[in-house]
């Protein structure tokens, strides 16, 4: 230990220097306390795979940002809470905002949850960047001018794009259509949007059967039998969970995939389950805002896909992109607002202003927020093909449309907007 006076003094001086130094950096350390990002992610039930996908995109974004020094010099600390029913999720949102004192809260998949969390985010003045949740009641927006809530792309955007593609692809080839959609707002609105667009494009199609199985159904043998009886030329479905492959498997086993055309607006959410064994070529299938094999994939998407495949033995889907986007958009907004505030950490209000109209590089390309706090993104859909190296279908050619084309503009009604198209 300390053997003589001289060494003792040296140690003492060292300690004093260290203390001095520490005193010096104290304000800087306070400045560099981590940014707390609260995340609401579904972990159980039908939305669990979607929640998991969002968490993966979040983790990828946070790892990259932290490795590069954080947000304006502050590292990110994630606090994950579960998204479940609207009531409990609102409680967890309050906890993240008030107790955890999260700087921003991301996440939220279900629109029912979004409808509940949106007003609370406004009430608490807590910044909320939703992944997938909207604050729509049907196709109507319930919070047209939010201050603190930033919402996802409108629910019916994928149906709008798929319907435009269907009109282009099948004009003159179909007379009767059938719908099989989940019995809730998302399913019903997608089907209604499809019919409205068919009408707008002068397709002259008659709906012969409309089926409304509940969300989470795993047996469609009776529904498939009803489809067989109705003999539609085209079947439209907005299934997005495990029900999409089950429907196709049972439809295929009943011989329905021969001759009948399919439009699967959102099956890309479970794309690896859409096996070639039962998903036909020639169907229109939507991947929402991320297509893992996009021909124009950016180096960032390639890197993410590789990371995702190595870690989880799966190819990523769209929710990763929504989640990734919310984190990088927040980072960009804070840094922009901080610059404007002369290097100080911005207030929530300043961050909100910076978020409005922001555009950043996300996994799926450049995307941003509109001034009414709705997401903008590119959507990927196309015609299914078996010509690939996987055991599931992919799409070729890949169509890319911006939400500027397939999402109703701020302040307009969906059907008025569709009717205003010149086709």
């Amino acid at each position: 230990m300390i053997t003589n006076r001289r060494t003792f003094i040296k140690v003492l001086a060292g300690a004093a220097a260290a203390t001095g130094a520490r005193l010096d950096v104290a304000p800087a350390l306070a400045q560099a306390a981590p940014v707390r990002i609260g995340v609401l992610a579904a972990k159980a039930g039908v939305t669990a795979p979607v929640g998991e996908s969002g968490l993966r995109g979040t983790q990828f974004a946070v790892d990259r940002i932290n490795a590069a020094g954080g947000i304006a010099g502050r590292k990110i600390e994630l606090v994950v809470e579960e998204e479940s029913n609207p009531k409990d999720t609102v409680e967890r949102f309050r906890k993240l905002a008030l107790q955890t004192k999260a700087d921003v809260i991301t996440g939220g998949i279900s629109t029912a949850v979004g409808l509940a969390v949106g007003p609370v985010s406004e009430e608490l003045k807590a910044l909320w960047l939703a992944w997938d949740a909207t604050t729509q009641k049907g196709v109507e927006e319930t919070i047209p001018k939010p201050r603190y809530a930033f919402r996802s792309v409108d629910n019916e955007a994928e149906a709008v794009m798929a319907s435009i593609l269907a009109a282009r692809q099948f004009k003159g080839k179909i007379k009767t259509v059938a719908g099989i959609n989940n019995d809730y707002s998302y399913g019903r609105d997608n089907w209604a949007a499809f019919l409205a667009i068919m009408k707008k494009f002068g397709m002259n199609v008659t709906p012969v059967v409309e089926l409304w199985p509940k969300l989470g159904e795993t047996n469609f043998t009776s529904h498939v039998a009803a489809l067989q009886q109705a003999k539609p030329d085209l079947v439209f479905s907005s299934f997005w969970s495990g029900d999409a492959p089950i429907l196709m498997k049972q439809a295929h086993a009943a011989g329905l995939t021969q001759g009948t055309k399919f439009v699967l607006t959102t099956a890309g959410g479970v794309h690896e389950s859409m096996k070639k064994a039962f998903t036909p070529e020639g169907a229109i299938m939507g991947y929402n805002s991320l297509y893992f094999e996009a021909p124009n994939a950016s180096p960032l998407l390639r890197e993410f896909s590789k990371w995702h495949q190595e870690r989880f033995k799966e190819w990523p889907n769209y929710e990763s992109d929504h989640a990734y986007f919310t984190i990088v958009a927040y980072k960009a907004a804070v840094e922009k607002a901080s610059k404007a505030a002369g290097g100080k950490w911005p207030t929530t209000e300043q961050t909100v202003e910076a978020l409005e109209g922001i555009e950043v590089e996300s996994l799926s390309g450049r995307r941003g927020y509109r001034s009414d706090h709705i997401m903008e993104a590119s959507y990927y859909q196309g015609v299914t093909t078996h010509k690939n190296r996987h055991d599931f279908v992919t799409i070729d050619p890949v169509e890319v449309m911006s939400t500027k084309q397939i999402q109703k503009p701020s302040g307009t009604g969906l059907y008025d907007w569709i009717n205003s198209w010149s086709v």
Binding site: W212, T218, A253
Partner: protein
């Protein structure tokens, strides 16, 4: 119609497990749906493994049944847990078995992840059958036949064997059976395991036609309860009749007026509750 019977076959297996356990042990086992989900996931894994090991595809139903039976070994473990609440209020049963439902959902997520699991090509190994204008996958008929065979086997087991007599005696009067020298706790373990096996085999058998998803058990619990209410709690014949009624009602509703698909079932449930509160096949004593 056939779609309805197919659904009924699966529903019967789950409801039969529920009936058996309630009939004998007086336990309302919500976890019956979890055993179904567990069987489905294990079925996917077992068949994928068997096919990879070079087994000929047509034997896969045997692999499925085998997987279901092996999985029933969780029965004795769960039964040990349930022993703590045999003499307690029914609300404890519901709480404990519902806790099991949530725990099994987590176990499934931990072992198999959240993405849907499926056997993509097994469904059509036996080909399709053309009847009139309809195409029916032969495997659907295999499941219906298996459901029927298991129902017959259960009937035989309960009515004609020594084990069946002991089980029925225990169900009728536990104290008396015990006084007559029946080792009731052993009967309980066996009955519960049999109940679990009905669920796991049901889940395994249905999997080629569908996909295993986390929440599949919870949905089925609700329908299994509808079956039980219609058929009468604790009655095997009731389970068969209830499953057929629910399955066919749904198919008819979907074919004629899809909007009332779920409503139709509960209209029957309410009708039965009003007109015959104990169910169609309830025993006089119950």
């Amino acid at each position: 119609m056939l779609g309805g019977v197919f659904h009924a076959a699966v529903l019967f297996l789950v409801a039969a497990g529920l009936q058996l356990v309630f009939g004998v042990q007086k336990i309302l086992n919500l976890a019956c749906g979890s055993f179904y989900a567990l069987g489905a996931y294990a079925g996917v894994s077992a068949v994928s493994w068997a096919l990879a090991a070079g087994a000929p595809p047509p034997i896969f139903p045997l692999v499925l049944v085998g997987a279901g039976l092996v999985l029933a070994l969780v029965g004795p473990v769960i039964e040990r847990l349930l022993r703590t609440i045999y003499d307690r209020d029914e609300s404890f049963q519901l709480l404990l078995t519902f806790a099991l439902v949530l725990m099994f959902e987590d176990v499934i997520r931990f072992v198999w992840g959240t993405a849907p699991h499926q056997l993509s090509s097994a469904y059509l190994v036996y080909g399709q059958l053309r009847v009139g204008g309809l195409v029916i996958p032969v495997y659907n008929l295999v499941v219906i036949a298996a459901g029927g065979a298991i129902a017959a086997l259960m009937g035989f087991l309960l009515a004609r064997t020594r084990f069946g007599r002991i089980v029925r005696a225990t169900a009728e009067n536990r104290g008396m059976a015990e006084a007559m020298g029946v080792d009731v706790s052993r009967v309980y373990v066996r009955v519960f395991t049999l109940g679990v096996a009905l669920g796991t085999v049901g889940g395994a058998l249905v999997i080629p036609a569908t996909a295993a998803v986390n929440e599949m058990g919870i949905d089925l619990i609700v329908e299994a309860f509808a079956v039980v209410v219609i058929g009468g709690l604790g009655s095997m014949r009731g389970a068969v009749a209830g499953a057929l009624i629910v399955g066919i009602m749904r198919a008819v509703a979907v074919a004629t007026y899809p909007e009332v698909e779920m409503l139709a079932i509960y209209v029957v449930v309410i009708a039965v509750l009003v007109l015959r509160p104990a169910g169609l096949f309830a025993k006089a004593a119950a």
